[in-house]
Symmetry: C2
Subunit: 362 residues, 2 copies
């Protein structure tokens, strides 16, 4: 497949900083919010019911001190951090002498990357071809069409999507912009953490982000690679969607995942390049997972207390901070009474109103 | 009734600026968001269906150019701008030599002011007594209790609530902090507009805010009283909740309202002091109203496009900008092709999840 990997960014902090300069005119500087209530809740031992499904419910609950700083990428353009990587990939492509804009760009994505690439391509008047699984979230399909992209539906597995994309490349000559396994995408996603670090008035002890294909997590790791801020990844545990965590602790990347977790942005396996940053270079300090119920509980808290619309995938980091006893015990031990200032990235807010209504009514 | 009006702020821009200095340590600097989609929608002639219930559906729809800047007071502490006025009133009281903190403060409120005063009082370790109508939004009652206030339920009318408050004053010696008809409250609420003006990189042509008792609208008018920025008020029209608009154009304040509009924060009549600023001093340039369906449509857009949880009262300003032909025609005529940068204040986000689920499922 034709990718532009040969001319793409080296995987360093400097590349993330350069990406930020390139995309600044096109993205929102999303706000960082705090909540006294959620800080208190995170710093209170959890009840056994909130921790159900963990193996730790028999020991006394931990009592970490956490001050949470929420980076609201649900308020980003197209409603997700994916705008960052897409605008960066397009900006880099346009710098390449052998790129022919009229041939367009193509990708396969379950949703947010599709919208992001469509918007970024449209902004530069480049055609966008999007391969989406036919089971995609209807609001994401509608929004992608709204940005003027040409959509092709495919089966849900990675090989099916890749084959459909390859067919488009053969007929149009479009350049493939994969959703996460690409240096320019990774460096673009890392800009959210750069901003977060500059927006919080104190140094952050750590940042936790959702991990699907790993673009956001590995970009965040690059952004923090020359400072002391630790980086953690969060995943749903449902039907094995915690492939990143399993691979990280087994020392071998899990290459295939088939989960229908409500965190629909996190159903994909961790990509090769993200893995090289997260695991091989050890730029991520730990991976944690949460149950579907814990994701729903965190979502409700974000609606009620932070007044934000978030998609289920977005809140896995908060769910880890509130409900994962491994994580909480680790913070308690590392941070002591002083506690941690923890950056928590909300990745997106693209959820259909009817799905939202169902979730909130439960 | 014992109020501290004699020692309270003069109704000037300087007082709003001083209020901001006093409350800054206690409130959030809430973000200002923009949306390309909503700018395009607001700058597109509306379909007759969106404008149904207006008397203008027979003339060609107007075509104003609007760039909207949303001041997100739903992201304020306690989920509403009311935190500003309450923290200011408490700060001013504490400066008064004859204030005895142990006697506490009392108010009557349908919800957000109750939470705000409870939080501000708790922060200064002052007892808070709250009179709430028994039909109040359950999430607001629960949150108020959560801040440690003592709640007394009353009938829904103003005289019933005032009588219940008076009884508490007689027995405790608490100081009354009314929800809007008080200079310190008004100057506190005006600080949202001060921030909005400083956060937007261009001068705002106008600001529109919801209008219930008129604290936010009149405070905004004071904040803009020495600059060219125009100020507009927005109300629901349902069952006469547009008392402010009716009074403004009739030249006489409407003293009583009995509406069950979904904009539950806007069911109260415009207060005397707000009226003196809005009408007598002509610091507000116009008042507009919208239907219940237009409020719901605006709410859905805010959920889908801005990814924010807002209560129905919060979006009446946006609904006016999108759907009120009187307003849109006026903008078209005044602004021409250059258009307006319009500040739109989202007043709050306190809506129960079940009510929200119902609204979104419709």
């Amino acid at each position: 497949m034709t990718t532009t990997t040969t001319t793409s960014s080296p995987l360093t902090l400097a590349s993330v900083q350069q990406a930020h300069e390139l995309i600044k005119p096109f993205i929102h500087l999303t706000p960082v919010l705090t909540s006294t209530y959620l800080n208190t809740l995170a710093s209170t031992p959890q009840t056994p019911s909130a921790l159900s499904n963990t193996e730790w419910s028999s020991r006394p609950p931990s009592s970490p001190v956490l001050r949470l700083h929420f980076k609201c990428e649900n308020l980003q353009r197209i409603g997700a951090f994916k705008a960052r990587g897409a605008f960066h990939a397009i900006a880099r492509l346009k710098q390449s002498p052998d790129f022919d804009p009229s041939r367009g760009v193509v990708t396969h994505s379950s949703g947010n990357h599709a919208q992001a690439l469509s918007l970024a391509a449209k902004t530069s008047q480049i055609p966008a071809y999007i391969v989406m699984p036919s089971i995609s979230n209807p609001s994401k399909v509608a929004a992608t069409k709204g940005y003027g992209a040409q959509i092709t539906f495919s089966g849900p597995t990675a090989p099916e999507r890749e084959a459909a994309a390859q067919k488009i490349i053969s007929s149009t000559g479009a350049t493939l912009i994969p959703p996460y396994d690409h240096p320019d995408i990774i460096c673009g996603q890392g800009t959210a953490a750069l901003e977060l670090l500059s927006q919080v008035p104190v140094p952050l002890h750590a940042i936790i982000t959702p991990c699907g294909g790993g673009g956001l997590l590995s970009g965040t790791a690059l952004a923090c690679s020359e400072i002391k801020t630790k980086v953690f990844g969060a995943e749903p545990s449902f039907e094995g969607a915690d492939d990143g965590r399993r691979g990280y602790y087994a020392g071998k990347r899990v290459e295939s995942v088939k989960s229908l977790t409500i965190g629909d942005g996190l159903r994909t396996p961790l990509g090769k390049i993200p893995w090289s940053i997260i695991y091989t270079r050890k730029l991520v300090d730990g991976m944690y997972s949460v149950t579907e119920d814990q994701i729903k509980a965190a979502m409700r808290l974000v609606y009620e207390r932070l007044k934000l619309v978030v998609e289920p995938s977005a809140v896995v980091g908060l769910a880890v901070a509130l409900y994962n006893e491994d994580f909480r015990k680790m913070v308690e031990e590392e941070a002591g009474k002083e506690g941690w200032d923890l950056g928590v990235v909300f990745s997106g807010g693209n959820v259909s109103l009817s799905a939202l209504g169902d979730l909130l009514k439960e």
